[in-house]
């Protein structure tokens, strides 16, 4: 198995390129994705190679981008839409939750909506407001959408192609603070040989407690496990990868082994992904849990000014504080 070392940004670019080569129906749409290659350069060079018809710079209108993609999907295309930053997805919210999510159902399965909506999300990059949000729960709450998030370069490469190949609409949340993180990418492994898009993965095995994470904080969870190991505590880290559907089977198996669970994400804890996970795991593992499920995440506030974001974001210390509490029961 020959792998190539590259950043997550480059891996996403390679994934898009591969998907476009494999299927002429794949078209990219978004603001500034052509000549500029997107503000994060994820589409760098693609317009040059595939032309303006397949890599469309769109007018500055998010509802327009998604609504037009719906029409293209009606016509048999597979649009991959880029939303420039997390906080700009809301003008498109209506098209996503009212149209994209429901057309297959409303048309009794006759109309497919194989859209991929790429959203650079999360904070930690010192940006101005509306550039650091974690809106995934809004979409996971809506039936008809699939929601995923990658945590390393290899998964970014594979998951993006899987999302594009899916006949369902996929919200693809890219942890923007990991764009420049490098990893080994297997460019040749067939999509079928990869973990399917609905499956979580054990990112690190352990025996004392499970930490469930996705996207930007998987790295934080792994760092916490590393630190805890020095104290003799063995943490298992589950990279959820997929938020809707959520792979409760893998998580349940892990919690049955460890008896303890901490869930972490950047989004606000209140009414967030962690609440759902805690409830379902409590239901499934009630007699095996040694402690209540704890959550570590953002607070109930608008994403704060960048000089305060280190307090808002779950970090190593807050995560270890929670694992200590769970172990103390």
């Amino acid at each position: 198995m020959a792998t190539t070392r590259m950043s997550m940004a480059k891996a996403l670019n390679a994934g898009l390129r591969k998907a476009m080569e494999d299927d002429p129906k794949v078209v990219l749409m978004g603001e500034d994705i052509g000549k500029l290659g997107g503000v994060f350069r994820i589409t760098d060079g693609l317009q040059k190679d595939f032309g303006e018809d397949r890599v469309m710079d769109t007018p500055l209108a998010e509802s327009g981008i998604i609504g037009t993609a719906v029409g293209l999907a009606f016509r048999g295309y597979r649009p991959v839409c880029e939303i420039q930053f997390d906080g700009f997805i809301y003008p498109a919210f209506d098209q996503i939750v009212s149209q994209v999510a429901k057309l297959h159902y409303r048309s009794r399965g006759n109309v497919k909506m194989p859209l991929t909506i790429r959203v650079p999300f999360g904070g930690g990059i010192g940006a101005v407001e509306h550039h650091s949000e974690s809106p995934e729960a809004y979409f996971a709450h809506t039936a008809g959408l699939r929601v995923v998030s990658c945590a390393d370069a290899d998964d970014a490469y594979g998951m993006l192609q899987q999302a594009i190949a899916s006949d369902d609409p996929v919200l693809f949340f890219e942890p923007k603070r990991l764009y420049q993180h490098k990893g080994e990418v297997d460019l040749d492994r067939a999509l079928t040989a990869r973990e399917p898009l609905h499956q979580a993965r054990i990112a690190r095995s352990g025996t004392d407690l499970t930490v469930a994470a996705y996207g930007p904080v998987v790295g934080t969870a792994l760092a916490a496990a590393e630190a805890a190991a020095e104290e003799g505590v063995s943490i298992e880290v589950v990279d959820l990868r997929t938020l809707s559907p959520l792979d409760f089977d893998t998580l349940e198996q892990s919690v049955l082994r460890t008896g303890r669970l901490v869930v972490t994400h950047e989004a606000a804890v209140f009414m967030g992904m962690g609440a759902e996970i805690a409830a379902r795991i409590t239901e499934r593992c009630f007699y095996h849990l040694e402690a209540p499920v704890l959550r570590v995440g953002g607070f109930h506030l608008p994403y704060p000014a960048s000089k305060l974001e280190e307090h808002h974001l779950p970090d190593l210390d807050r995560l270890l504080h929670a694992t200590d509490r769970v172990l103390a029961y």
Partner: protein, 361 residues
């Protein structure tokens, strides 16, 4: 795409000669030598404020800055047309307008430095905090204008936005609402030719001011690098709004000479030669040429302008560097106007958590 038409209002040519106009000339007839000098001083000062913003960002004092280089005349011309009671709804690039509103120099920087999510208190200077969500402020201006109308106030609201913003539903809806209710709102589009990397031709196939006709309001195109023409047309639009004649759309044709923000790289998309072409239409040099032509630009005056720019820049820099980092628990302030148990609980928990570190090392 050619965006200028023979309808474009211009009172000052790029070489600084006055151009007659049957309607708009009269609207600036009151400008005497002192007023002309004042406008030029404004242009120089805001260019300096902007340069200071870029420099502070490069020095790591600001996280980001959105330069307004090239758009000085559009902002000073419109900003100086405003009355104290008028209310401004800006985007993120209106540093020049903020200066006209009398903003405290350091207040401009909190948002860009990351110490707070906004800059000034809107009610101090009758100017909303910057809208980063493209186009949202168009509707806010419309609503504020409706409030003015209901209250019988003789004032107007003005929304600033870019050419890219005209593609957003919010701007279309704002024009529609304002026309329907004859709101005293002025829509001021700075067509600076670029929405990040996208040329204006990607947003509009007809000159932007012509869109007004479809909504039933006057649209007017003005040379956005001509401070006199911008002042005149904005005065006109504001006056008719205040008098109850309804909204208007102004398209100020200008050019963003710098990058979109300090994080942008225009060499990737800007055609060669375009910048040089626009340099010849620089809003500052044409106003200076006028002053010289009319014998208003002696060395003493030019020295005083430089001194003023130096002073403002120094004050700005000092104010920016003095902005303190916010204390952690302040992030829980103002989430709600009234007490909220969840926020209180999370604040208390986080305070206890932080206390746990005290004395631990």
């Amino acid at each position: 795409m050619t965006v200028t038409t023979d309808q474009m209002v211009q009172l000052l040519t790029p070489t600084g000669e006055r151009r007659p106009h049957p309607v708009y000339e009269g609207l600036i007839a009151d400008l005497d030598g002192a007023a002309l000098r004042g406008l030029y001083e404004d242009l120089v000062v805001v260019r300096r404020i902007d340069a200071e913003g870029t420099a502070l960002q490069r020095q790591g004092q600001l996280g980001l800055w959105a330069p307004m280089l090239g758009q000085e005349a559009a902002q000073i011309g419109s900003g100086r047309a405003l009355a104290a009671d008028d209310f401004v709804f800006p985007s993120y690039r209106e540093h020049g307008v903020a200066y006209c509103r009398g903003v405290d120099p350091a207040d401009v920087f909190g948002m860009w430095r990351g110490t707070s999510l906004s800059c000034w208190d809107p009610y101090d200077i009758n100017m909303a905090i910057p809208a980063i969500i493209i186009g949202a402020q168009g509707l806010h201006a419309t609503g504020y204008a409706l409030g003015l109308k209901r209250d019988g106030a003789e004032a107007a609201a003005i929304a600033y936005f870019g050419d890219g913003a005209t593609s957003q539903g919010d701007i279309a809806e704002a024009l529609g609402f304002a026309a329907t209710y004859q709101a005293p709102a002025v829509f001021f589009c700075q067509n600076n030719h670029w929405a990040i990397s996208e040329p204006v031709g990607l947003q509009a196939q007809v000159p932007i001011y012509q869109r007004a006709a479809g909504y039933g309001m006057p649209g007017i195109q003005v040379d956005g690098n001509d401070v006199l023409a911008v002042l005149a047309v904005t005065r006109w639009a504001l006056q008719r709004a205040r008098e109850g004649s309804g909204p208007a759309l102004i398209e100020a044709v200008t050019y963003r000479m710098g990058p979109h923000t300090t994080a942008d790289d225009p060499t990737r998309y800007r055609p060669t030669g375009e910048l040089e072409e626009w340099r010849e239409r620089d809003p500052l040099s044409r106003m200076l040429a006028l002053l010289q032509r009319e014998g208003l630009a002696d060395e003493d005056y030019l020295d005083s302008v430089r001194a003023k720019a130096d002073a403002v820049a120094a004050e700005l820099r000092a104010g920016c560097l003095a902005l303190p980092d916010p204390a952690p628990l302040t992030m829980f302030d103002n989430v709600y106007a009234e007490a909220h148990p969840l926020v209180a609980e999370e604040r208390a928990q986080y305070a206890a958590y932080l206390d746990g570190f005290e004395g631990s090392n």
